[in-house]
């Protein structure tokens, strides 16, 4: 079982072009900003969804068409191959801050060779756009709807802390119906909408008048989508006319012919299928949904086209491979940011030669956040793997790029070659791909009400969140930011008498202090009461948020193809999709379980330490209590070592959150989905959290997602995954994540590959949901910190995304290094 890693010259040129962009030629996508701002200014009173349609049509009709010499597949979300997207109607207040600074500072931050460049015209355009949007953006509209208590109550660290930031973001996090775009096309959808429009007109009611607007919006967007493709066709012909290379000329003319056909009509070839996916994704991106919108099951969308072409001999395997290579590179060109760091920090980055693009922080991640899912099952339960699955995965192995994310779906049909490529690729570049367990994920989807046939076709969004592509509006990005419940903060309230010792803020539920509890059970029930309260608080906020959001910022680009919307005449944000869900993540499971275990063992079972003494130690951040802290670290069993008692506490403390959450009906009458993911928030949550009974000092990072605590794993990976498997994974309908890092020596060669497969398989057989691993030694990471240039290609998996290690901020690097390394 061998595979070819040599990429074609054209792919090599495409990679070089990317690099050229990355190294000091990246620009912000101001084109979209200008088009949307102009349209909204001129159509202030238009109904929101029609405004959305009008703007998107305008974008398709007037955006700059560019075709580069290296292009095999065409387009981009901005006027160049790679531009950084941002959503002016979502987050804009960084603009006056960043661009309103003195000329000298502005130039150092945004006009220094190597930086992400903003020219003077763009600067003034953006400042005036931000001025327009200031009181018309998402945040203002949400504020205009929300009840006061949402703002008055701090959530006290338990429910998502950065409320203001969250409300500004679009929801993102869904998978549009790419399959329909490829196989049916916008022409047929337009005809269907015309019929629906007539139906509504013939039977107009108060209820469906709004649907009339929806169908009109759909028609407008379909026209835009077809128009954009035709404009690219013309672009190809213009380019062909001035091309001297006869081969390229023929290729451009062939593309032109396809471009006149696709979008309106079903794709006929692999190239057409992939091009439709890209165009549709650009439209979604222009709609502003730039936060983890995913493409999911590409092999399913185009697998038949490939098989047909291979059978007819109109394409070779090598040609198909080149197309997938190009596809992955072009998808990776979709990059977005929420807000850049401040100018002083940018200047520092520029000086270090790192630039805005090369920085990964918790608030300004630059990534498309797009996830591609490989393989799986067909609705009848048979294998969903095909030739396209293999070639697609192989492209990731050949290219070694951190973006987009990719996962393989593991089930009994997962072919050996897929396992081999997946593990060998992941050994080389952390988390490319990650592994998802079909059995558990399908069960979790069925438990939230999805029929098994549809559940079998799930795909992954963003980082780890499962959805039914093209059929569900999953809202797993919650309010667009890191919505979630911080379990350790709930326990801290129980310890400190309803107070957050870092801020001094009081919570809503008065309770005892640690030394006042009479039994461990009493403490557990107080914890349960606190979690229950904040889950309730959090879900209320989401209910309000979703109403406000849907009124002003419907998501037409998703609705146009989504199953259910055409039938119901409703946008996805109005509840039009066939299925609906709402995901809320949790975090700090390991810290909470270890903390509870410490209290139970030391203070109740062993009676080695009094509750008062532990409380006092926590209040002074262990100052003068080092021996107690060492006793906790060295004698109390920790989650991650296959200890039944603490593992049971981990299961219990996360179930309290999951069970409570799932007892609610969410926005759009949907099922609420629990999950656990932290991205890099385990570092920022740690910074904001006082000392905890697990021996953690104030400010230190928390454990990530469902992974055990850093440095607390002593029994190796078998115990590690066994502990993790004891959580109630089927309740994590919004996904979860287990990170594991190996020393290269422990998993080298074919035998190492095989043993990793056994380990993953065993974790999944025990009921684990998802796993991703890094194979890199601590000493290598230390070297990379010292010599970032030499290690610029080192890719590691952080959370639901992979990134270049040297792009991470130092605190995130430290956290990554301290995560358990498993080796023999």
């Amino acid at each position: 079982m061998d595979y070819d890693l040599t990429v074609s010259d054209r792919i090599q040129r495409l990679r070089e072009k990317r690099e050229w962009y990355n190294n000091g030629h990246l620009r912000l996508n101001t084109e979209r900003t200008n088009i949307i701002t102009k349209y909204y200014k001129e159509h202030e009173a238009q109904y929101p969804i029609l405004k959305r349609a009008g703007f998107l049509y305008e974008w398709c009709a007037t955006r700059e068409i560019f075709i580069e010499d290296e292009d095999i597949l065409l387009g981009g979300s901005g006027p160049r191959m790679r531009t950084i997207n941002f959503m002016i109607e979502a987050i804009n207040q960084w603009i006056p801050q960043s661009f309103g600074d003195t000329d000298e500072i502005f130039k150092a931050a945004w006009q220094t060779p190597g930086c992400v460049w903003v020219d003077d015209e763009e600067r003034s355009d953006l400042i005036s756009a931000a001025e327009y949007w200031k009181d018309r953006d998402i945040l203002s509209h949400i504020r205009g709807f929300m009840p006061d208590f949402v703002y008055d109550h701090p959530g006290n660290g338990v429910s998502s802390p950065a409320r203001e930031r969250s409300f500004r973001l679009p929801q993102g996090h869904f998978v549009a119906n790419f399959e329909k775009a490829v196989k049916v096309g916008f022409g047929a959808v337009r005809r269907q909408a015309m019929e629906k429009l007539a139906e509504v007109e013939n039977n107009l009611t108060h209820e469906n008048a709004r649907s009339h607007a929806f169908y009109r919006a759909v028609i407008k967007l379909c026209d835009g989508a077809v128009l954009m493709s035709r404009r690219y066709a013309k672009g190809c012909r213009d380019k062909a006319a001035v091309t001297s290379d006869p081969k390229r000329k023929a290729e451009l003319l062939k593309m032109a012919e396809s471009l006149d056909w696709i979008m309106e009509n079903p794709a006929r070839t692999l190239w057409e299928g992939l091009q439709v996916i890209l165009f549709y994704q650009y439209i979604i991106s222009a709609d502003g949904q730039q936060h983890g919108q995913s493409i999911a099951n590409v092999d399913r969308y185009v697998g038949d086209l490939l098989d047909k072409e291979l059978a007819e001999g109109t394409i070779t395997r090598a040609e198909a491979q080149e197309l997938f290579d190009a596809f992955i590179l072009r998808i990776g060109d979709l990059i977005a940011m929420f807000a850049p760091p401040d100018n002083q920090e940018l200047i520092k980055l520029n000086r270090e030669g790192r630039s805005l693009f090369n920085t990964l922080g918790t608030t300004h991640t630059i990534s498309g956040g797009i996830h591609i899912t490989i393989g799986g099952l067909k609705p009848d339960g048979s294998s969903g793997y095909n030739t396209a699955s293999e070639l697609l995965l192989l492209s990731f192995r050949r290219l070694v790029v951190p973006d987009p994310s990719v996962c393989i779906r593991v089930n009994e049909h997962t072919p050996d070659i897929i396992w081999k490529i997946a593990i060998e690729s992941s050994k080389l570049a952390g988390g490319i791909p990650q592994f998802d367990n079909d059995e558990v994920i399908i069960r979790s989807l069925v438990e939230r009400g999805i029929p098994i046939e549809d559940a079998r076709e799930y795909g992954i969004i963003g980082c780890v969140e499962p959805t039914i592509p093209g059929k569900e509006w999953p809202c797993c990005g919650s309010t667009g930011s890191f919505g979630g419940i911080t379990l350790i903060a709930a326990l801290n309230l129980c310890i400190h008498g309803n107070k957050n010792p870092m801020t001094g803020a009081e919570g809503w539920l008065p309770c005892k202090k640690l030394y006042e509890y009479e039994s461990f059970e009493e403490l557990l029930s107080e914890y349960e009461r606190q979690v229950k309260f904040y889950v309730d608080f959090e879900q209320k906020i989401f209910q309000f948020f979703e109403v406000a959001y849907s009124e002003f910022f419907p998501c037409l680009s998703a609705s146009v193809m989504m199953d259910g919307c055409m039938e119901s005449g409703k946008d996805v944000t109005w509840g039009g999709a066939k299925y609906n869900a709402f995901g809320v993540m949790t975090n700090t499971i390991a810290n909470t379980a270890d903390s509870l275990m410490t209290i139970k063992k030391l203070c109740f079972d062993w009676k080695k330490v009094s509750l008062r003494e532990l409380y006092d130690a926590l209040c002074v951040n262990w100052e003068g209590y080092e021996n107690l802290r060492q006793m906790i670290l060295n004698e109390v069993p920790h989650y991650g070592n296959d200890d039944p008692e603490v593992d049971e506490l981990a299961r219990w403390c996360s179930d309290v959150y999951a069970d409570n959450l799932m007892s609610y009906k969410g926005p759009r009458d949907c099922a609420m989905a629990a999950g656990s993911l932290t991205l890099t928030a385990n570092v920022s949550i740690g910074k904001a959290t006082c000392a905890t009974p697990d021996g953690r000092r104030a400010g230190e990072p928390m454990a990530d997602a469902i992974s055990p605590r850093q440095g607390m794993v002593e029994n190796g990976p078998v115990s590690y995954v066994k502990s993790a498997a004891k959580l109630s994974h089927h309740k994590f309908g919004n996904g979860n994540q287990l990170n594991i890092r190996f020393d290269p020596r422990s998993v080298e060669g074919d035998e190492g590959t095989w043993k990793l497969r056994e380990l993953i398989q065993a974790y999944f057989d025990l009921g684990g949901l998802q796993l991703q691993f890094n194979v890199v030694a601590t000493q290598e990471l230390r070297k990379a910190q010292k010599d970032p240039i030499a290690y610029k290609d080192l890719i590691v998996r952080i959370a639901g995304f992979s990134t270049y290690f040297v792009h991470m901020t130092p605190d995130v690097q430290e956290d990554f290094i301290s995560r358990a390394e498993q080796f023999v």
């Binding site: 080092e626 021996n627 060492q630 006793m631 670290l633 060295n634 296959d642 000092r697 029994n715 190796g716 990976p717 078998v718 115990s719 066994k722 422990s746 998993v747 080298e748 060669g749 035998e751 190492g752 043993k755 056994e758 380990l759 065993a762 057989d765 025990l766 498993q822 023999v824």
Partner: protein, 318 residues
Amino acid sequence: MIENVTGRIYDIQGFSVHDGPGIRTTVFTKGCPLHCLWCHSPESQYDRFELSFLPVKCVGKEKCGGLCLKACPNGSVTETNPEESLIDHSMVTKVSIDREKCAICLKCANVCPSKALSPTGYTITVEEAFARVNKDRFFFKKEGGVTISGGEPMQQFAFTLNLAKKCKANGINVCLDTTGFAPEEQLLQILPYVDLFLYDIKHMDSKKHESFTAAPNERILKNAALLADNGGALQIRVPVIPKLNADRENLIRTAEFCKSLGSAVKLVQLLPYHAMGKSKYTRMGLSYKLKNVDPPDDLTMKQTLEMFTSLGLSAKIR
């Protein structure tokens, strides 16, 4: 009760990927009749528990109250120059161990809260060891299982035999990692409970063997043949150490010896020398005896592999 038989071990390791086929859990026993110059587990060599000291874990006397300084009856724990604490960047005074004076009473290790000072192992019953191994059985699948390794596990014969028996009786595949330097009758006695012997051949010349490992090789070679003749399955492990045993002549003789054992040899593992055990010597206050030897290069390993495979032996590197 065989379950109450105790063994002195220094570790039990899950996902032990280098100690036999599949995913294995390895029990490492203490004590070895050989003392190989390249030994990467110095803590395995002696039966007694030594004192291991890991300065990076020491929190400093300001934080713990200097418990080890007070506990030591021989004055062998001494203070070092103040340095910055990794915990909170305050200045702390850590300790060092004067190995000359240390009587290895382990009193300091018993009081050290951070386990910077710790004994190099612990006593465990067969039942406890089995329970630990059994926890991982889900991961063993077809090929994996338990590996009893050392040191030389045959040196604690009662423990090793009973643990092998217990695992075997519970359907767990058993590998025994042995130097072969053990009484014949004991090897024959344990044979029925061992699915695969991981059997080291370090040098074919007995004199050289003795100078490198402190023991001659006659017994080892004889026992290999004995196990082979009595139906034992062997995976021969050959460390490849430049300047010591990696010369052509010795390697050819080794290969020929493996060949002479016939179908009992399932696989020959060629293990390139590495110096990764060095830090353990420091922890134990010992010096690493093998100087000026580098790991063999890839070409040497490839050529060595060919030597073995050309004789029709199934062989692999690592």
